[in-house]
Amino acid sequence: MIVAERKPIEEIIEQVKDVRSLLVLGCNECVTVCEAGGKKEVGVLASALRMVFLQQAREVNVGERTLERQCDTEYLEELRDAIDQYDAVVSLACGVGIQFTAEKYPSKPVYPGVNTSFMGATQERGVWVERCQGCGGCILARTGAVCPVARCAKRLFNGPCGGSTDGKCEISKDVDCAWQLIINRLKALNRLQDYETLAPIKDWSTDRAGGPRKVVREDLRS
């Protein structure tokens, strides 16, 4: 899933400081699961903002709504009737949802309420970890299904740097050394010899380097 993090409230307050009415818009997908932008967080943020406005002695209508997905235009359509009540939207969806919302309602300012962090998973309640950077050229087959692009601080393709200590990355003792994990996996798979194969130079064109990406499947298009 896409993992996002709640934006510092101060930043959101600054974004919406001039609005006279505001919709806090949640998304019931990834951001709900990672507890950054579901209905509950919508409630928390809306309540906080109302308190801020009340303290400023301002009458600001802060509405709350949570859509099934903000990354689908059909769901966004559900807002059609209500959107005009509001000066602006604070979206707690990921960057995708925010943009889709903005695209759907071109004249409505849409502000981000979360920082979209990465594609990852819940390690334990309250801890989310990155697993994929969407580089568009998956090499997991070679690396024992541990991604050096997403998980090595230096994206090294040929082994750990000299900073790997006790299985941890040189940047932090809280970060596992991806290559230690790769080596462990290869050992477990009895494929340690694969390590010695030199990795070809990576084609980054499928990554962000290639500009905005698009996946098209003609067989599915109508």
Binding site: N28, T32, G38, K39, K40, T66, R125
Partner: protein
């Protein structure tokens, strides 16, 4: 009144009407009573003396008078002249002197005018009664008749009313205005007094009846003086004392001589003397034939007379009145001497021949007694007289032989005390009432004999306080004046004097509580009743009492020094609801102690001093607990030292707690018995002298000493056992037959708890269930035959209806109403949205209020109900039942707690409390409007039990359930049933385990309702209470069976630890205790010259930090067995702490007597063992002589602990919690010892914790009992307060799955969370955590909570 609070071990005070403790359930009050106080019993009129004394103490004089005037219309009169028999009976005299009761009565009448007291009277009746005589008997009779509604007329022969009170008692003792005021008390009730109207002279009894009087009461008194019977008595100047006093009292004057001689020793003689002095006599002399100590006059009166100048000549009797010209001039007397006592008990005086002497006088007043003047009565038919010249009446009813004529007072008794006459008048009034109503006059009035009355013991530390003295008029001011001599107490002195009362009866029956109780729930007339009950079984759980260390006062200065307390007292000091509110301070000075010592085994393991040879089993653990809590309360700066013989933390996980106390919390454990405790040094520290482990005498000072007192059977229980004819042992514990731990010697009678033998709470709770099981087994045929079904109306459908809320505001008597303006709250409630009805009740929870509520619901078509009263914790259920009774769903109900949360706790600020009450009601009404009906799920119960484990525990559980009519499937993994017991031979008591086992297996196998599956393995498990399914692989063929069942009993047992220590497995000379037992059974003690046993092998170490409980007794059992077989064999037991708890202590004692040697070793210096040919060499250190000892042993027996069998896999299949050591974990260690946390699962035997075979059997019965509580229901109703998921919104994020403490939510096939309401515990954690807000907890939905916030804060912005 202040009485010691027993719940606080006497460390605080409470009243006679009390609630046991703040959280007591039921939260009801009780009144503590003993027999009626002796003062009250001594009073002829039965005045509630203790009652009015207590009122005086409180300064409640009005209330005191009300109590007095319940019986006596003349408080000020009797408060002066009563001879106060009550004071003679007063038990305060055991401390110092009696309480000055009479004077306190007078004080009450001095402070409050009795005429102002409201006398409750029955409605007036038409019948009239005539009373002859206005003395105390006549007045009392008229008074009590008036209270019963009868008007009476008193006919008085004299010109002034009062009888002897007026004419016999001079004003210096009884001021006229006092008497007159109190006669007014009587006349104010409508009683008429006709003066100067004498019976015989002016009217006759027949006249009276003819005039319409329905009854006549004769109270003529005894006004006729008795003559001396000596020559010259008719001379001038000789006058009867009563006549003299009558004249004085009626006219204020009488002729007196210059020199007056008075004959007699009673109060009349004294009164005459004192009156004569006042009227001008120059000299008075009283002649009395006995000595002063026989004088019937009151001592203070005699003294007063003497102070006023009277001379008294004792041991003299008149012989002749000397006259001159018919005028008295002197008296010849004769000296007397006393001989043996006469019929009155007084020594009889006889004249001394030749001792005549003469006294000069000009007035002689004989005052040797009075008698009734019968002239007016002698000829009346139907009256009979005694040989003493008194009128005869029925002793109980005061009726004469003539119908309608009653009599009393001195006329009937001869001259006696006024209070006796008052009593007689009161009794006659009752008789007259019954006579007029035509009822049996005597019925139920026989005097009740009180044998061996029980009174409150006089506190041992009651300090001596002298009786208060009353100020008197100076003697110089008395002559020539009849001003009152005794001036009365002032208020402080009187109240202090009243404070000397020791409250013999506890409750003083002031009846203030009766008035205060608006529910009219207090009835002081309740008496014990004997009832016969037909029962099929009796269970005895009479508990125990702590040993009272006062009997060991020579060792421990308990009660002498307030800082020496019992453990129970200490617990109260630690308790938040205790006398110090949990603030740990020394009783002596209220300072925080810095050092506390606990002395163990006080009244336990002590045959010599207390006679309690057994171990009380609980004291080690509670001492450690208290030390830990004390440290916690003291925030670390407290030194706790426990002086012990053996630390016996043998219960489940107890050893870990001990280790924590010792190693982490720093509680000191000192292995020493303390010899003496002395108060020493400044700051009142207590010096302990003890012998340490090395045998050296040491001393240490502490601020407090806690005596860890043992448990013992109470004398009452001993008596009960005798009455029930059940056997008890020498310590009075119930004796049970072999292998039936809670049975007694009498079939059908069961005993549990400490009466069975000393034990802790889990043991007691389990045994209670076990006893219920055994009783249930006998009574299973009668199950459900006496139950009644409640019929409920069909539920009203409120869907779509606007909320119509009824608010019922409770006064709770004065509990709420005294602080909160209930009316105001009610009116306010009516203004709230959706509220269509608001009412108030005195007690909303009372039966009639419930009926009114039902009516209101129907009348106003209410569909939501709010009760503003007390705590839903206690009362919600009652009101919900009421709702159901009207057809309303019970969840359409809400309470506002305006008592516990308001009136009780804001009693100082009533205005704020009322405002708060309104808000609480507004909040409740707001929530009520949001409530929806909820349906409680009903699930069927499969009446079959699954028992896992076929050992002794499992088989017993299976039999206990099957015997009660339910099917049981018993699953055993081994080839045969029996388990560990196959390896055991006899219990320490000598019971044959193998025989028992065979019998048990036979019963299981032949039981028609038990299927025993051996060689069977549990492989799958699912479902919930009442509906489980278990997959079992059965037999060598491993075929799979699915068993549906309603409950599970886990009895998987334990095995003996296989030691890796001390050369076990390397030498045949090293065995375990179980192996030793088998060897002794098979080969006896042949070839054993020296045997060593090592305790705690595989227990109390790092791998297994717990005590295995059974090994100490196993060692003792085998050691005794060896000694019995071969007395010459030396047996050494090397131990850390001998844990022969409870009655096992006797065997430990026996072992030592048989010469078995016990040596204590330290865990960090265990014995060393070397194996050699033919034996082992054991080296260990003797701590007392401080040297190493070596034993060449033929056999080394290791007391290997118990390890649970196979719990790991089972726990993962059935999802059961286990301790780190592998024992299953019960739902609550103390309160639910055989329940697992998952409902419908129970546990027993050594799978729970190490235990003896008998204890396992008890637990098995307990588990069976708990299981039957499920099995006996055909269906279970589940709470509707469960969480529910809105699948449309659920994001399947798993947060509920992860946060549920009970692992209930699952993501279902539709990909959304599902919460099984049968499994949900209703905590609401999932609802709070759900990021999609897809979960709501029924009845606590977010809006149902938030609307309260909104209602509370409405309008605040």
């Amino acid at each position: 009144m202040g009485l010691p609070n027993d719940y606080d071990e006497g460390l605080s005070m409470q009243r006679a009407a009390f609630k046991q403790y703040a959280q007591a359930i039921p939260g009801a009050y009780a009144i503590r009573k003993a027999d009626k106080a002796p003062c009250r019993m001594a009073c002829p009129a039965g005045l509630n003396v203790q009652g009015y004394v207590q009122m005086v103490k409180e300064g409640k004089f009005h209330e005191a008078l009300e109590i007095i005037m319940e019986d006596l219309p003349l408080p000020g009169v009797l408060g002066r002249i009563c001879p106060h028999g009550c004071e003679d009976a007063c038990r305060r005299a055991e401390v110092d002197e009696p309480v000055a009761i009479r004077n306190l009565k007078r004080l009450a009448a001095d402070r409050v005018d009795p005429r102002g007291i409201q006398i409750p009277c029955a409605p007036a009746r038409p019948d009239r009664v005539a009373i002859i005589g206005s003395g105390p008997a006549g007045l009392s009779c008229a008074y009590h008749l008036a209270r019963k509604g009868f008007r009476s007329t008193i006919f008085e022969a004299l010109s002034q009313p009062g009888g002897m009170l007026r004419v016999g008692i001079p004003a210096h003792r009884l001021p006229r205005e006092v008497l007159e005021q109190e006669i007014e008390v009587v006349t104010n009730l409508g009683v008429e007094i006709e003066l100067n109207t004498a019976l015989g002279r002016d009217l006759s009894i027949d006249d009276l009846f003819r005039k319409g009087y329905k009854a006549v009461y004769l109270a003529l008194g005894a006004h006729k003086g008795i003559e001396l019977g000596v020559p010259g008595e008719k001379a001038d100047g000789v006058r009867q004392g009563v006549d003299f006093l009558r004249e004085v009292n009626l006219t204020g004057m009488a002729r007196v001589g210059r020199k007056v001689v008075i004959i007699g020793g009673g109060n009349v003689a004294i009164d005459v003397s004192r009156s004569a002095v006042r009227l001008g006599a120059e000299e008075t002399t009283i002649i009395y034939r006995r000595t002063r100590s026989e004088m019937p006059a009151w001592e203070e009166e005699i003294q007063a007379a003497e102070a006023e100048g009277a001379g008294i000549t004792y041991l003299a009797a008149p012989q002749e009145v000397l006259t001159r010209n018919g005028q008295v001039v002197g008296l010849r007397c004769i000296r007397m001497q006393l001989t043996e006592p006469d019929s009155s008990g007084r020594k009889r005086p006889v004249p001394i021949p030749g001792s005549e002497f003469e006294i000069e006088c000009d007035q002689l007043i004989p005052a040797i007694g009075q008698r009734p003047d019968l002239t007016a009565l002698e000829n009346i038919t139907g009256l009979t007289f005694s040989r003493y010249g008194t009128l005869e009446v029925n002793a109980v009813t005061y009726a004469t032989e003539r119908p309608g004529v009653f009599a009393g007072g001195d006329l009937q008794t001869g001259p006696w005390v006024a209070i006796g006459a008052v009593a007689a008048g009161k009794e006659a009034a009752e008789s007259i009432l019954r006579y007029i109503e035509g009822r049996d006059v005597a019925a139920g009035r026989q005097p009740v004999a009180h044998e061996n009355p029980r009174y409150r013991p006089i506190p041992q530390n009651e300090t001596r306080r002298p009786r208060a003295r009353m100020p008197e008029l100076p003697v110089a001011q008395r002559r020539g004046s009849f001003n009152e001599v005794e001036l009365g107490f002032d208020e402080p002195a009187g109240r202090a004097e009243a404070g000397r009362c020791v409250n013999c009866g506890y409750c003083c029956e002031c009846l203030q509580c009766v008035d205060a109780c608006l529910a009219k729930a207090v009835d002081h007339h309740q008496v014990p009743v004997t009832r016969d009950l037909q029962v099929g079984s009796v269970i005895l759980c009479p508990g125990s009492e702590p040993f009272d260390p006062a009997m060991l006062a020579n060792v421990y200065p308990y009660r002498k020094n307030p800082d020496v307390v019992t453990s129970l007292e200490f617990e109260r000091l630690l308790s938040a609801s205790g006398p110090t509110m949990g603030h740990l301070v020394r009783p002596s000075d209220g300072k925080e102690p810095k050092k506390i010592a606990w002395l163990q085994c006080v009244g336990s393991r002590d045959i010599n001093r207390s006679g309690n040879g057994y171990c009380s089993s609980v004291c080690c653990m509670y001492a450690i607990k208290d030390a830990m809590i004390a440290k916690d309360h003291a925030h670390g700066d407290l030194d706790c030292a426990i002086f012990y013989m053996d630390i016996r933390t043998f219960g489940k996980d107890y050893e870990k707690y001990y280790t924590r106390a010792k190693d982490t919390a720093g509680v000191r454990f000192i292995n020493a018995r303390v010899h003496s405790v002395d108060e020493a040094g400044p700051g009142r520290s207590l010096r302990l002298r003890f012998v340490d482990e090395k045998g050296e005498i040491r001393e240490e000072a502490f601020d407090m000493v806690v005596l860890s007192v043992g448990l013992q059977v109470t004398p009452e229980t001993r008596e009960l056992a005798k009455r029930l004819a059940i056997d008890v042992d020498r310590y009075n514990f119930a004796v049970s037959p072999p292998f039936l731990p809670v049975a007694t010697s009498r079939p059908g009678v069961f005993a549990g708890g400490v009466f069975q033998q000393p034990k802790d709470i889990p043991g007691s709770v389990a045994e209670a269930s076990a006893a219920a099981c055994l009783a249930g087994r006998m009574l299973s045929a009668a199950r459900n035959t006496l139950t009644r079904q409640v019929e409920l109306p069909a539920e009203i459908d409120i869907r779509g209806a606007e909320p119509r809320i009824g608010v019922f505001v409770c006064n709770c008597g004065v509990n709420i109403a005294a602080v909160v303006d209930v009316k105001g709250v009610q009116e306010y409630a009516r203004t709230l949205p959706n509220v269509v009805f608001a009412g108030q009740n005195l007690f909303t929870c009372s039966q009639d209020s419930q009926e009114l509520m039902k009516q209101a619901i129907a009348e106003h078509r209410l569909n939501r109900v709010v009760v503003a009263a007390c705590s839903p914790k206690t009362h919600e259920g009652i009101f919900m039942d009421t709702l159901e009774g009207t057809g309303l769903n019970k969840y359409l109900f809400e309470m506002a707690n305006i008592r516990n949360q308001d009136s009780w706790v804001h009693s100082q600020t009533p205005r704020q409390a009322t405002a708060k009450a309104k808000q609480l009601v507004a909040m409740a009404a707001a929530r009520a409007a949001t409530l929806n009906p909820l349906a409680e799920k009903v699930i069927p119960v499969n009446p079959r039990a699954l028992v896992i484990g076929g050992g002794v525990a499992g088989m017993n559980a299976a039999l206990a359930i099957a015997d009660q009519g339910y099917e049981v499937v018993l699953v055993e993994k081994e080839e045969r049933l029996g388990g560990m017991a196959h390896r055991l031979h006899a219990t320490i008591e000598g019971w044959d385990i193998q025989r028992y086992l065979q019998e048990l297996m036979g019963r299981v196998q032949s039981h028609p309702r038990i299927q025993a599956l051996t060689r069977s393995l549990i492989v799958g498990f699912g479902g919930f209470k009442g509906n489980f399914t278990t997959e079992v692989l059965v037999g060598p063929g491993m075929y799979e069976r699915k068993i549906d069942h309603g409950v599970v009993i886990l009895a998987t047992g334990a095995t003996e630890y296989r030691p890796t220590e001390y050369g076990y497995g390397q030498s045949e000379h090293v065995v375990t205790q179980v192996e030793l037992g088998a060897r002794l059974q098979e080969h006896g003690a042949r070839g054993l010259a020296q045997v060593v046993m090592i305790q705690c092998v595989g227990s109390r170490n790092e791998q297994n930090p717990n005590c295995s409980r059974v090994c100490c007794q196993a060692a003792v059992k085998n050691a005794i067995h060896i000694k019995d077989l071969s007395p010459a064999t030396d047996v050494f037991i090397l131990y850390r702490d001998m844990r022969t708890y409870g009655l096992l202590e006797d065997y430990y004692e026996q072992a030592r007597r048989k010469g078995i040697l016990f040596f204590r070793y330290d865990a960090d210096a265990p014995p060393r063992v070397e194996t050699r040919d033919g034996g082992v060499t054991v080296t260990f250190r003797d701590r007392i002589i401080g040297r190493e000892l070596q034993v060449e042993a033929d056999l080394l027996a290791l007391s290997a602990g118990l390890v649970p069998s196979d719990t790991e896999e089972l726990s993962s299949i059935v999802k059961l919690a286990r301790t780190p050591e592998g024992h299953f974990m019960e739902a609550h260690v103390k309160l639910r010892p055989v329940d697992m946390a998952t409902e419908g699962l129970f546990i027993c035997g050594t799978a729970h914790s190490p235990q003896l075979i008998n204890e396992s059997i008890g637990q098995a019965h307990a588990a069976a009992s708990r299981a039957v509580t499920f099995l006996s229901k055909s269906r279970l109703t589940l709470s509707a307060v469960t969480a529910k998921v809105n699948p449309d919104v659920c994001a399947a994020c798993l947060i509920c799955v992860r946060s549920c403490p009970y692992h209930v939510p699952r993501i279902n096939a539709e990909g959304v969370s599902h919460i099984d309401e049968a499994l949900c515990h209703g905590c609401g954690i999932c609802a709070a955590e759900c990021p999609a807000k897809a979960i709501e907890l029924n009845w606590y939905e977010d809006e149902q909570l938030l609307c309260k916030v909104d209602a509370l804060l409405e309008g605040i912005l």
